[in-house]
């Protein structure tokens, strides 16, 4: 269930990718702190998440092709777009260009595109089809405005994640938030310092999420 109250989002994040690559699982892992069976998304689902003093809105879109027409709507004012593909399925990687490349043109110019490989727990490194280098290259191509220095300091917007094993999920989201809504050192101190209080309010990302995913 969603929280009630004010809905002014400071950052809008959208997640795109073929059906069943694990978009919903990824988001629920981050927001609810757990992994559970997800039904395939219908249309798009809206999640809300505080980050420091900010509110983040996440649009989880359905991968089924028939909803493609709507993606430009979700993209329009997105500050960041997560492009998810299944590390075990090269087809879903190709889709990122083929299907979503044009859709992303509707996004803001400064929209951060993050390429995310999913289900890394199922990946066999020796037989993998899409190399990490390819993923990284796509991520950099999609973000021409990211300067070299930033990439060297913070890394490329490319992540290999597992919602199941909870690997790299928080890192990926924090990369986005830190880039789009940087917290000042002072804020970081304040909100990191408050983590325990926030925990009590059950708003932290890990552990006892306050709302169940169903």
């Amino acid at each position: 269930m969603s929280q009630t109250g004010k809905r002014k989002a400071d950052l809008k994040v959208i997640i795109l990718g073929d059906y069943a690559v694990g978009k919903t699982s990824l988001i629920c892992r981050y927001i609810d702190g757990k992994f559970q069976k997800q039904d395939s998304t219908v249309g798009a689902a809206f999640f809300f998440k505080p980050w420091g003093p900010y509110n983040i809105a996440v649009w989880d879109t359905a991968g089924d092709e028939r909803y493609s027409g709507l993606s430009h709507f979700y993209c329009r004012s997105a500050g960041a777009a997560i492009l998810a593909f299944d590390l075990n399925s090269p087809k879903t990687f190709e889709s990122l260009w083929a299907r979503f490349g044009s859709i992303l043109e509707a996004a803001n110019e400064d929209c951060l595109k993050v390429v995310v490989g999913t289900k890394s727990d199922e990946l066999d490194q020796s037989t993998r089809d899409v190399s990490a280098e390819e993923g990284r290259r796509l991520a950099l191509e999609l973000n021409p405005e990211l300067d070299q220095a930033y990439v060297e300091r913070c890394g490329a917007p490319y992540f290999e994640t597992s919602a199941l094993k909870n690997e790299n999920v928080t890192e990926m989201f924090e990369y986005i938030f830190q880039r789009c809504l940087p917290l000042s050192a002072e804020q970081q101190r304040r909100f990191k310092g408050k983590v325990s209080t926030i925990d009590l309010l059950e708003e932290s990302s890990e552990g006892g999420g306050r709302k169940k995913c169903c």
Binding site: M1, S2, T4, G5, R7, Y19, T24, C28, Q38, D39, S40, T41, V42, G43, A44, A45, F46, F47, D60, A62, G63, D64, E65, R66, Y67, G69, L70, F73, K212, C213, C214
Partner: protein
Amino acid sequence: MATDHREAEQPVNTSDSDFQEDVEFVETNCVPGKCNSAVFDTTDELDDLTLNLANGVIQNHRGTITSLIRKRAKRSNTLKDEEADQDLANSIASEEANSIEQSELSSELSEDENVKNGLEDLSLQDTESVPEESPSVTLIPSSSETDYVNSLEWKQQKKHIFILSESGKPIYSRHGSEDKLVTVMGVMQALVSFVQDDKDNLRSIVAGDHTFVFMNRDHLTFVGVTRGRESTQQMLLQLTYMYNQVISVLTHSTLVRTFKQHRNFDLRRPLSGAEKFFDNLLNLMDVEPGLLLTSVRCLPLDSSVRDIVSQTIVQHAKVKDLVFALIIAQNQLVALVRMKRYYLHPMDLHLIINLINASESFKAAESWTPICLPKFDATGFLQAYVSYLDEECQSCLLLLSVDIEAFYTLSECRAKIKERLDRYNALTAIGNSLQRHSYSVQQCSIGDLRHFLYKARSTAQYTSPELGPPYNTPEQQDRLFGLYHFLHDKVHSVSRPLKLLYHVGKYETLLGWVTQGFELYAVFGPLVTKNVAIHAVNKLLRWIKREEDRLFILSSVTF
């Protein structure tokens, strides 16, 4: 050949007259659930089916969404908005003009004759899909498909539903993967085309205890095969629901445009992921009488509570471009608020119920999804805001708008509605009503009455008690449903519609009664005489009348 009632238990005594003495005996002025202001769009699909069998394309309500969007565009002058509107309006309206108006000349009477001839010529009576009979004749080439189609599991399914394209491409099959049914579907399409070559339409084939029913719409062929009690007419209604579900996912405009561009298009791609809606709809049709009766079941609720719910919606969802707002709990309607002048058709409501019934994903978060309601406007999408209101995910709020940008506004409406409904304990009241499981037939205190369906025609709503013994097993429920199909078919028979039907079966006595105001289907114990049954039914009507405020939505609420 078209009529075959297959009343398994041979009727011992069926009297189906409008016999004078009994009509007088009956008190027709008692019409529970009657309402003068329309709550729903009450055009009856069965009538439609009879009247425009040949040109079944939905023509009445096209363009509604476009006109609503234009109105909206007029209101908002910002350039950006207008562009967006125009885009949307164009995409919705573009194909409207091109849509195909089918006008097949079908001489209905000769059809069956033709089918028969065609069949004999082709010697197709004994395809694999007709099990058990003369297995010696085989049309289907040997391949792995043959094994599958011949498997007992597949053959013994009670009902098959297929969707295929005009070129015979499989699109959907209820049982088994449609990939394995290429040949079977090819044969079906061959049959259809063969009859169409003579400017005629194949409507049904009866083969043994199976009935095949065919329906062609917009380059699609829908085939239903049943050995249950559904009549041809009732199967057509089910196929129409399937057609509506296709439209609901794609819109009529897209469907027509797609096939205009590529006659050989594989419709499975745009429909991928939608199979679960077809499956779920078919399951609903097997257990939910509302689809057969094209009517809506309301959650029994004190009218004061229902008023609070709908007034809360009116007050807190008064948003421009919002066409319908409704709350649904376990497939029952709790409240409906509509834009002035626009009505929701029960068939569309069933698609909405099917949407939320078929997907768990709405339970995780607020959702925003396009849905086309074919009876409302087959040419475009409405945007549906969907969110459950309670932690248990029982009461689902749906807000349907023509404005794709409305999500955030509607989300705020939801928050306010939830807060008020919580404060007035309305959600608890809904939960309690759900827990009480409607009502038992004993509460009507009419001896020997086992079950009934009552439909108020003017409001397109129906009520029925919960399924108690002896109908508490799936098999018995199935049988009961078969009895209702039988009764329903008899009183709605195209050639000889009846007002009153008294039927003594092997295990129970049935009474069907149709008036201007209502349809009543009642099931009694086996030894009930006609007079007793009619007497009981009158008593039942009075009971429903007393309860009508709770069982029906009798006043229409608008924004």
